[in-house]
């Protein structure tokens, strides 16, 4: 100890006693800090093991599928895979071109439909709707439940109302887009609401206090701040739509299509998962290999999209 500081301390007689008391208090504190009942520690360890077990089970399953598909599909990895269409005459050179394009077009259609609808619905529910009114509660409840409805139901809906029924569009790609859009709309609405709700009320108040109207506040403050969250939600919803097969089978994507699709042409269209399904069901071994390669192709597309969503979320993380 430095003499200067020591000089500042009043030299109290009997300081030995205070020193002892202080060290006693330190010991008590140490005991409080280090004490942990053995039962607690054991329970902690067991719980941790269970969690690790569950996580590795999920991971092992996933890795096994990917490895199996990669190994089986390896012979088919070539540019043919994306540049060629399916052909029964020479299966070795078959590819996924129409399916890739079909999926791309489907997704473009879904984005065009779902972004404006989803954001508008979310803005209405978050910013305008009076949550105490029964109809708003009904809408909210519906949106939440619709997000959990099995996709085949949407396929039936699309078949009955879009392909046939009132809209009567026939088995065209746009009908597939509309069906998928309906399927992911609830997810997009929920994600957008989440993002809008995350914008703190103080931002809205600050804007309104300047004489901005409610719409100006939403348009110029709330939505720009919510965009990263909304886009992330849209991308995740789209990756779900990419993987959907069942509803597409119902609205006309089941055909073995050899040419590139168009939005409104009625000579058939297909999508990645549908063609994989089609290939996998064929007896020739070449097609089975193609199916496995298609799985990997689809995984790459999905991973790319999800990584983009994650990057976006981190890039625009808000500071409030």
């Amino acid at each position: 100890m430095k003499p200067q500081t020591a000089g500042n301390q009043p030299a109290v007689p009997g300081s030995e006693r205070t020193r002892l008391a202080a060290s006693g208090a330190r010991a008590v504190t140490l005991a409080q800090l280090s004490h942990q009942p053995r039962g607690d520690r054991l329970r902690g360890t067991i719980f941790m093991t269970l969690i690790l077990f569950a996580v590795s089970l999920a991971l092992i399953g996933l890795v096994a599928i990917i490895v199996q598909a990669a190994v089986k599909g390896a012979p088919a990895f070539s540019t043919d895979l994306i540049t060629n269409g399916p052909s029964t005459i020479n299966p070795e050179q078959s590819g996924f071109r129409p399916a890739l394009l079909g999926t791309l077009y489907l997704i473009i259609g879904v984005i065009v439909l779902v972004v404006p609808l989803g954001i508008s619905a979310a803005v209405y529910l978050e910013e305008y709707a009076d949550g105490t009114r029964w109809w708003n509660r009904l809408i909210e409840l519906n949106v939440q439940n619709l997000a959990g409805v099995p996709s085949i139901i949407y396929g039936i809906l699309g078949l009955a109302f879009i392909v046939r029924g009132p809209l009567d569009l026939g088995f065209i790609l746009a009908a597939g887009s509309m069906t998928l859009a309906l399927l992911v709309l609830p997810t997009v609405i929920l994600a957008s609401r989440e993002a809008i709700r995350a914008v703190p009320p103080s931002i809205r108040e600050g804007s309104l206090a300047l004489g901005a109207t409610q719409w100006q506040t939403i348009r110029r403050q709330v939505l720009p701040a919510a965009i990263p969250g909304v886009v992330t939600g849209v991308i995740l919803a789209i990756s779900r739509a990419i993987g959907e097969t069942a509803p597409l089978l119902l609205v006309g994507a089941a055909t073995f299509v050899t040419f590139s699709p168009t939005f409104f042409g009625d000579n058939g269209y297909t999508a990645l998962p549908v063609l994989i399904f089609n290939y996998a069901a064929r007896p020739q071994d070449e097609f089975r290999v193609l199916a496995a390669a298609g799985v990997i192709l689809m995984l790459i597309v999905l991973l790319a999209m999800n990584s983009f969503a994650i990057w976006l979320r981190n890039r625009y993380e808000q500071q409030w």
């Binding site: 703190p200 108040e205 804007s207 206090a209 300047l210 004489g211 500071q319």
Partner: protein, 295 residues
């Protein structure tokens, strides 16, 4: 009027030293003779505010003078913020809030059927307790108001407002930086600048310094003394010294309780010149509060 004059005169002589600072400020304003003679910005007549069925502020009547700083003080929950938010219809944003009585702004009822709350807020700006810059650049924060209101010369306005808020020198080289990179005190001055940029007539401030350190607080207090030449300011504060330092008039509110019903509401106890509230309050409860005996 003459009565008040007579009342004031001996007092100023008696306590001249303590008031000299106040008087020095007041000499420049026309209300030197009669503190209530200047233009009135607001006149509150029997204003009560309730949230749903529970009364928050009861029966407040007071006038707020132009180009002065008016302080609202009182214990927590006495309805200072509630009362302040009545003055630019921010209470409209809370669906449960109801305002009864009359809030006159230059003689016009702010709650009249033809009045658009958006227009009200253009004229009567507000600075909040917690700095709430927009998640945008410093420049865009200040430019937001002029842009949406379609005011011209956005760049000049931004510079003028930032100078007015004593912030220009600190930020002029980083106008494009995000406002969240500023210190809390700078953020609050940015919020003041943002409000000034749309040329309001009144600025309402709800505990603008409560989240700030003493130096930033002093800066904002200095600022208020300058701002009142241009604007009328109503400030809510928990800090007695602050009220004494910056304000010309002070209103003291108290929490009134109905023990039988278990209701609590805010009540205006006394409203007067700040000097009188702090040196010669008429009500015993005011004296207890400003001398720190309660609250």
């Amino acid at each position: 009027m003459s009565e008040k004059l007579e009342e004031r005169a001996p007092e100023e002589n008696a306590d001249h030293a303590g008031l000299s600072q106040k008087i020095a400020v007041r000499e420049t304003t026309p209300s030197d003779v009669d503190p209530w003679a200047g233009d009135r910005v607001f006149e509150l007549n029997n204003v009560s505010v309730s949230y749903g069925s529970s009364l928050a502020v009861n029966d407040v009547s007071m006038q707020i003078q132009k180009n002065e700083v008016t302080a609202l003080i009182g214990p927590s929950g006495c309805g200072k913020s509630t009362l302040l938010r009545c003055l630019n219809r921010m209470n409209d944003l809370i669906p449960a809030a109801r305002v009864n009585g009359e809030v006159l702004y230059h003689g016009q009822d702010l709650y009249g059927s033809k009045v658009d709350p958006v227009q009200v807020r253009k004229l009567i700006g507000m600075v909040f307790q917690k700095p709430n810059p927009f998640p945008k650049s410093i420049f865009d924060n200040v430019a937001f108001g002029p842009r949406i209101l379609g005011l011209g010369n956005v760049e000049d306005r931004v510079e003028k407002a930032l100078r007015g808020a004593a912030l220009w020198d600190e930020v002029k080289d980083r106008l494009d930086d995000n406002a969240y990179g500023m210190s809390g005190g700078q953020q609050q001055r940015l919020c003041i600048a943002r409000t000034m940029a749309v040329d309001p007539e009144v600025i309402l401030m709800d505990e603008p310094c409560s989240a700030l350190d003493p130096i930033s607080t002093a800066k904002i207090e200095d600022l208020m003394n300058e701002l009142k030449e241009q604007f009328s300011i109503v400030i809510v504060t928990h800090n007695m010294q602050q009220a004494a330092r910056v304000s010309d008039k002070t209103a003291f509110l108290i929490v009134e309780m109905d023990a039988a019903e278990g209701n609590r509401w805010g009540q205006l106890v006394e409203y007067d010149e700040t000097d009188r509230i702090f040196t010669n309050p008429q009500d015993g409860r005011t004296e207890d509060y400003v001398t720190g005996k309660v609250g």
